[in-house]
């Protein structure tokens, strides 16, 4: 097991930032922590890294406890926590040299390799203060990847990147996980990215892990429903309810979630025509990932 966190809890005075979180990852897995702002994603990553001590619970990475003085564990981890940061007066290359030295690497090769991998060659000799947000994010990712870690902890890795950059990073992370066997735990609120990238998802809400499973399982939770648009929703609702259907109204239309209605929309149309309020639109729709996520969070 790469990450083994049991009962992690972090309490800041009267704020419970993370509440009894248990989380495990296996080598080569891409695990995404999904949550709204303030859900506890960054605090979780900081606890996994040993930057903050849990109030309760414990973390081991590669079977070893993590925290101050556990420098051999840190040698195997690459990380990006919150906003990308760099020494503004140093160049991209120098910023990486600083970390390469502190990681005991053969500086020139490690730096040039990671610069090439992240597409930072045109900016290698530019001062970090002149970089765009997207390139600052690339530099932060380069720092995380510099030493070819076995575990990557990435807090919102796609922040600030343009769509092409997001796709590049997605491909890179896929390669790292599937070709090099790197375990990746990332946090995000960009649901579509998570769905494309992660093999497993944990949904955090107010510090609690409210759902965990394969990405496919989350998508499978998406519920189909029949959406009906009519000129007179009140009359149509009454007619359908009289026929024994469960109907809810939202956004001026009618919604039916029962299986029979979803599989036989023609019957619903017939009933409405018979009742004198023919539908102007009738469609079976399915929740997207975002709706699933918001439903999980709101139920929590």
């Amino acid at each position: 097991m790469t990450i083994d966190a049991v009962g992690l809890t972090k309490q800041y005075r009267d704020v419970l930032a993370v509440d009894d979180l248990t989380l495990h990852t296996t080598p080569g897995e891409i695990y995404a922590l999904l949550g709204l702002n303030g859900a506890g994603k960054t605090t979780t990553i900081r606890m996994l890294l040993g930057l903050i001590r849990p109030t309760r619970g414990q973390v081991t990475l590669f079977g070893e406890p993590v925290g101050p003085g556990r420098n051999t564990v840190w040698a195997r981890i690459g990380y990006l926590v919150e906003t990308p940061s760099a020494y503004p007066e140093l160049t991209v290359s120098e910023n990486l040299q600083v970390l390469a030295r502190l990681r005991g690497l053969r500086e020139e090769k490690a730096v040039s390799d990671v610069i090439a991998r992240l597409g930072l060659q045109p900016h290698a000799h530019r001062r970090a203060q002149t970089l765009s947000l997207g390139n600052k994010q690339r530099l932060a990712l380069a720092k995380a990847l510099l030493h070819q870690p076995d575990l990557l902890l990435l807090d919102e890795p796609a922040n600030g990147l343009d769509p092409a950059g997001v796709a590049e990073i997605r491909t890179l992370l896929h390669e790292l996980a599937h070709q090099d066997g790197v375990t990746i735990l990332l946090s995000s609120h960009i649901l579509t990215e998570v769905a494309r990238l992660a093999t497993r998802i944990g949904v955090l809400d107010r510090g609690r892990l409210v759902w965990e499973g394969a990405t496919a399982d989350l998508v499978a939770q998406a519920r189909p429903r029949l959406r009906v648009t009519v000129h007179d929703p009140g009359h149509a609702t009454a007619a359908l309810r009289a026929a024994g259907h469960t109907v809810s109204t939202e956004d001026g239309g009618l919604t039916l979630t029962e299986d029979h209605a979803i599989h036989h929309p023609d019957e619903i149309a017939t009933r409405l025509v018979t009742a004198g309020c023919p539908p102007t639109r009738l469609a079976v729709e399915q929740d997207d990932l975002e709706t699933c996520f918001l439903r999980l969070v709101s139920h929590a």
Partner: protein, 262 residues
């Protein structure tokens, strides 16, 4: 390369690439020049009187225009200017990591956090001592240009010794500002602590308790309070050492153990 050497290299690179070394060097150059100006005024009493207030102030601080007086003045400049500028160096070196958000990149590495803190203190100490030596060397050039009387190798050695002692004491008493900048996670807390210490050093020295207040001791070593005032004794030096050790260890322990949640 050992982790200590690597940490030193990185701290030196960061310092070298910033503007602060130039700013501090310029400040001490101006200060040494100011000391030379005072000697220049004191060399000619009529000229000093013609300059009014500046002449009066020069008479108060230096008295005579010779090498021993000039070396004493340079030590006083190092004590007073160093309290602020050495403090700024320490606050910048530690506080920048939090103000610029780079601290988190240093906290989960194979290089121990305490090694990084030690490297930072080594660089700030070397930097501060270099400024003190620069002040001395500039003083030699300016004093020679002014043709100050009273030169001897013994006077020059005593002047250097006192200046380095003053610098060392000042370096020791600014270490708690590193703790303030770290625990306050930025420049502001360090600057606040610096102002408080400088203010209290003035007030407590005026009240006559300066020899027992560590932040007043470096200036009192230079006889800044004038002849006949009680110089710092072993207790004063001991308190400075305790502050230096507490500041260094406190900073190292804070970096090693404190929750890094920002």
């Amino acid at each position: 390369m050992s982790t200590a050497t690597a940490a030193m290299w990185t701290e030196l690179l960061k310092a070298r690439r910033s503007r602060l070394p130039w700013v501090t060097a310029a400040a001490f150059t101006i200060a040494a020049g100011f000391g030379g100006l005072i000697m220049f005024i004191l060399q000619d009493v009529r000229r000093a009187r013609a300059l009014g207030l500046l002449g009066t102030k020069a008479a108060l601080t230096g008295g005579t225009a010779d090498w021993p007086a000039y070396f004493a003045l340079l030590a006083q400049i190092t004590a007073v200017g160093g309290a602020v500028l050495f403090g700024v160096i320490v606050i910048w070196t530690f506080g920048r990591e939090f103000s610029q958000g780079t601290a988190k990149d240093l906290l989960a590495l194979p290089t121990p956090r305490t090694t990084i803190v030690a490297a930072k203190f080594a660089v700030t100490t070397g930097w501060s001592l270099a400024l003190a030596i620069q002040t001395y060397l500039l003083g030699l050039v300016i004093g020679a240009a002014l043709g100050l009387p009273g030169w001897s190798a013994a006077v020059a050695a005593t002047g250097l010794g006192k200046l380095l002692l003053t610098a060392a004491l000042t370096i020791a008493v600014v270490t708690p500002f590193a703790f303030a900048a770290s625990a306050g996670r930025g420049y502001l807390a360090g600057i606040g602590a610096l102002f408080l210490a400088v203010f209290l050093a003035q007030v407590i020295a005026l009240l006559g308790y300066g020899p027992y207040f560590p932040w007043s001791v470096p200036a009192l070593v230079t006889d800044i309070a004038g002849p006949g005032r009680q110089p710092p004794g072993p207790l004063g030096y001991g308190l400075v050492a305790i502050v230096g050790i507490a500041g260094t260890l406190g900073t190292a322990l804070w970096w090693k153990h404190a929750d890094q949640d920002r």
